[in-house]
Amino acid sequence: MNTATNTAATTAATAAATAATATARATPATSSLAASSRFKAFAISFSTFGPVIYCICQFFNWPMFTFHPATNRLVWGYEGPRPGEGPNMLWYGWTATTVVVAALLGIVAMLLPEHVTRKIPLTLIWLFPILTIPYIVYSLMPWWTH
């Protein structure tokens, strides 16, 4: 009786474990977007080069627009703080520049033949964000050494 019970339990556990291991490969992509090779080129290019583009935007100070929160003033490109009007905010503009440039790059990648976009190493998609961290820490040096 015990042997039969143990065998049944082992079989059930093995089946469940197999199902759990296979969870990550549950089903093929069901949405047309996820199955599209063009979206693949767009997504991988956007995410791979996005972090690098952001760092470039920040380094060269290329905000798409500048926001002045005290006066709700919004201007294209860079504008320094104006006397008597409080601080300026550039982060929104850097983010907007990054999203637009990365999207344009993604669109270009969509238009390229698949054998070209396949050459983008997938490692870069997670390596670039990690590599940008030391640069960002360095760019914030005035705060650390104040």
Binding site: F46, W94, H146
Partner: protein, 163 residues
């Protein structure tokens, strides 16, 4: 708006909305990161095993939506933060605290641009070609999310509710 609630209450509600989205995002990403980093080999087990044994692909879209929502609400709050929190922080000499906030804003954008690739990898989880990239992108996003959450929490402690 001031007839319905005070300005302070209005922004506190948005801060709480930001927090709630962030908690949802943190939970979803942590489940997924655990599932991908330490896949379950046995069917049953303790709470840690059960925490890891989630259907990870099902979290991908929710993570993307929550990241964007948290990002948008955080960006909205940031306009007031810049005037009513950052300036007093600087005047009080909390320079490193403010440095970490700037670090947080950069990391939030870096995470945002990773989302299309992350979503694509998870929606094609049946393809072994993406296994390493999917795992690493998920772990990077989870680490970013924890960093953003902790820095936000510390900043709120420094100058948040009632200040």
């Amino acid at each position: 708006m001031t007839n319905i609630m005070s300005v302070g209450t209005f922004w506190t509600i948005w801060l709480l909305v930001h927090l709630l989205f962030a908690v949802g995002l943190l939970g979803a990403l942590t489940h997924q990161a655990m599932a991908v980093a330490l896949p379950v080999r046995r069917a049953a087990g303790g709470i840690v095993t059960r925490f890891r044994a989630v259907p990870a692909p099902g979290y991908a879209t929710a993570v993307c939506v929550l990241w964007v929502l948290t990002f948008v609400v955080g960006s909205y709050i940031y306009t007031k933060y810049r005037i009513f929190v950052r300036i007093p922080l600087e005047q009080s000499g909390y320079y490193k605290t403010q440095g970490f906030f700037d670090f947080k804003e950069h990391v939030a954008t870096l995470g945002l641009v990773l989302l299309p690739g992350y979503w694509y990898f998870w929606k094609n989880a049946q393809n072994p070609e993406f296994d390493t990239a999917r795992k690493m992108v998920t772990l990077v996003l989870a680490a970013m999310c924890w960093f953003l959450f902790i820095v936000g929490h510390v900043l709120n402690n420094t100058r948040g509710f009632g200040s």
